[in-house]
């Protein structure tokens, strides 16, 4: 791959992650359905994961896995620290989504609606 191609890849991935965060934020701010808000949160999650992995990327780098005979190739590897961080973040994000969805089921059982305008017992 030549340099121009790599440049386009970097700009494309970076703008994709920023756009994903903005689209998710739009859903959280304007939508009224609770499930749509959780969908927006999971889109924000994906955008942040992509952003972190992109910031750890190294031009012409390889995955941070050693093989015999190449023990001293550490300067050609991408950053493993954001990858470990994102690995944790995906699992925790799933747990948070599951708890949020169970809260939604519980709310629906009491109010028989998912629109946040119509759930009024929280206001006093």
């Amino acid at each position: 791959m030549d340099d121009n191609l790599l440049k386009i890849l970097e700009i494309g991935v970076l703008s994709t992650s920023v756009l994903m965060i903005l689209i998710g934020l739009y859903a959280v701010l304007t939508k009224r359905s609770l499930i749509k808000i959780v969908i927006g949160l999971s889109i924000i999650d994906g955008g942040i994961h992509l952003l972190l992995i992109t910031l750890g990327y190294l031009k012409r780098g390889t995955a941070p896995i050693f093989s015999p005979g190449y023990e001293h190739a550490a300067d050609k590897m991408v950053d493993p620290v954001p990858q470990a961080l994102v690995l944790t973040a995906i699992v925790i994000g799933f747990a948070v989504t599951a708890v949020a969805l169970s809260l939604i089921i519980r709310l629906y059982r009491h109010h028989h609606t998912l629109e946040i305008d119509e759930i009024k017992t929280l206001k006093w």
Partner: protein
């Protein structure tokens, strides 16, 4: 009106976010003598582990992983307590359908293969991409397939909680053994072995297998709880 206001705010936010992030520069080596070089060096020279992400998750940041599995356990507990109902309602499946015999036979055929794949992924976590979290999730996906294919497929909660707590206790005990050898929590006390062998890396392989069992049982319990929810 509100949507235009939101779009305006998001446009300003996006412009500054893109500007700031583009200024960092992507694809260039930023840190020299940073924590990245320390981890990459110690992984192959001291621990003899091939996969650097595994060595960070289990060894250098192993205490954080213990916290993470605890957060997952707390999420499953919270799910069970939020969806709690009276005793006689529990047990009826919310999604009632009868799957065809092709789906039943196919999932019965695929279930051992999926569990075997999950076990392979978490046993070889220190050699190839993968590890406890990935393998555990794959096993939970196999249980999900069986739960969707068979209406009365039961998972024993006693077995789940026994395996889960056993794996958690073994994780902590292995971590505490590090203190006995004069080190810190999760210090290695087994022989390291050679690079790219199955028995290499000391305690890292054992801990990732324990994490795999713990994640598999927790996620299976989560799916079982939320699938048996009936309105």
């Amino acid at each position: 009106m509100k949507k235009f206001l939101v779009l305006l705010i998001l446009a300003v936010l996006g412009y500054y976010m893109y500007d700031a992030l583009y200024g960092i520069g992507i694809g260039i080596p930023r840190f020299t003598d940073g924590v990245k070089d320390f981890y990459l060096d110690k992984t192959v020279s001291q621990l003899h582990v091939a996969n650097t992400v595994t060595s960070i998750v289990v060894n250098f940041r192993g205490f954080d992983t213990l916290g993470e599995v605890t957060v997952l356990f707390l999420a499953v507990t919270a799910l069970g307590s939020i969806l709690y109902k009276k005793r006689h309602d529990v047990g009826t499946r919310s999604i009632l359908f009868s799957s065809s015999s092709i789906v039943r036979s196919g999932s019965k055929l695929l279930f051992p293969a999926i569990v075997l794949l999950g076990a392979y992924v978490f046993i070889h976590g220190h050699l190839t991409p993968g590890g406890g979290f990935q393998g555990g999730t794959i096993i939970a996906t196999g249980f999900l397939l069986m739960l969707l294919a068979y209406e009365n497929f039961k998972v024993s909660h006693t077995v789940l909680s026994f395996v889960e707590s056993f794996a958690g206790i073994l994780f902590v005990v292995i971590g505490l053994f590090g203190f006995m050898n004069g080190g810190t929590f999760l210090q290695n006390f087994l022989p390291e072995g050679a690079l790219n062998n199955l028995f290499s890396g000391g305690v890292i392989g054992i801990i990732y297998v324990m994490v795999g069992f713990k994640v598999a049982t927790e996620l299976t319990g989560l799916i079982y709880t939320i699938l048996h929810e009936k309105d």
